[in-house]
């Protein structure tokens, strides 16, 4: 069971890594802004799998903070995105 959960965590990490490479290589800023969101879900899933696999429940709290701050960072991205200056 433990190695299955770890394998799943590794698999999700791989998909997240691939997605990050795709997102960050695109020229448009809009694509970049998705990166935080991606880590909120993907990173959360990785941490939850790790928490169960290593039987360390406190890791769940890290997933909680990751989710919270990923959306916080995304708001910061949108606020400071290029093209927002004209209205300020």
């Amino acid at each position: 069971m433990i190695s299955f959960l770890l394998g799943a965590a590794g698999f999700v990490l791989m998909t997240v890594a691939l997605a990050l490479v795709v997102i960050l290589r695109r020229p448009a800023e809009v694509d970049h802004m998705m990166a935080a969101q991606l880590l909120g879900t993907g990173g959360g899933a990785i941490l939850l799998l790790l928490a169960t696999a290593t039987e360390t429940p406190p890791i769940v709290d890290v997933a909680l903070l990751l989710a919270l701050f990923a959306s916080f960072a995304a708001v910061a991205f949108v606020r400071s995105a290029p093209g927002q200056e004209s209205e300020v």
Binding site: A19, A45, L49, S71
Partner: protein
């Protein structure tokens, strides 16, 4: 009983992992930002939901299970709203980069 729960965990987590893969493929293949945003949020949220569902039998105690579900709800809600905000930026700039 234990075996049944383990099988449930394995299948749900595998399904979740597959959805993460699908989200990444969508990100790779879709032509413009709005559809990519769509792929990212919807599919990854479903993936996380399935992972959480699969891990529920493995948690000890009701509190741990409740925390897992609330993390999923939090990601779900904030994810949906943040996506809306990003999509708004796309529309205003008229770019579909």
């Amino acid at each position: 009983m234990n075996l049944a729960l383990d099988i449930f965990t394995v299948s749900a987590v595998s399904a979740g992992a597959l959805f993460f893969l699908a989200g990444t493929v969508g990100l790779l293949r879709f032509p413009d930002s709005l559809t990519r945003l769509h792929a990212l949020t919807k599919v990854d949220n479903l993936g996380l939901g399935l992972v959480v569902l699969g891990l529920l039998p493995q948690t000890n105690g009701l509190f741990g299970a409740l925390k897992l579900v609330s993390i999923w709800l939090l990601v779900q809600l904030s994810g949906a709203i943040v996506t809306q905000l990003i999509a708004g930026t796309v529309r205003r700039r008229g770019s579909n980069g």
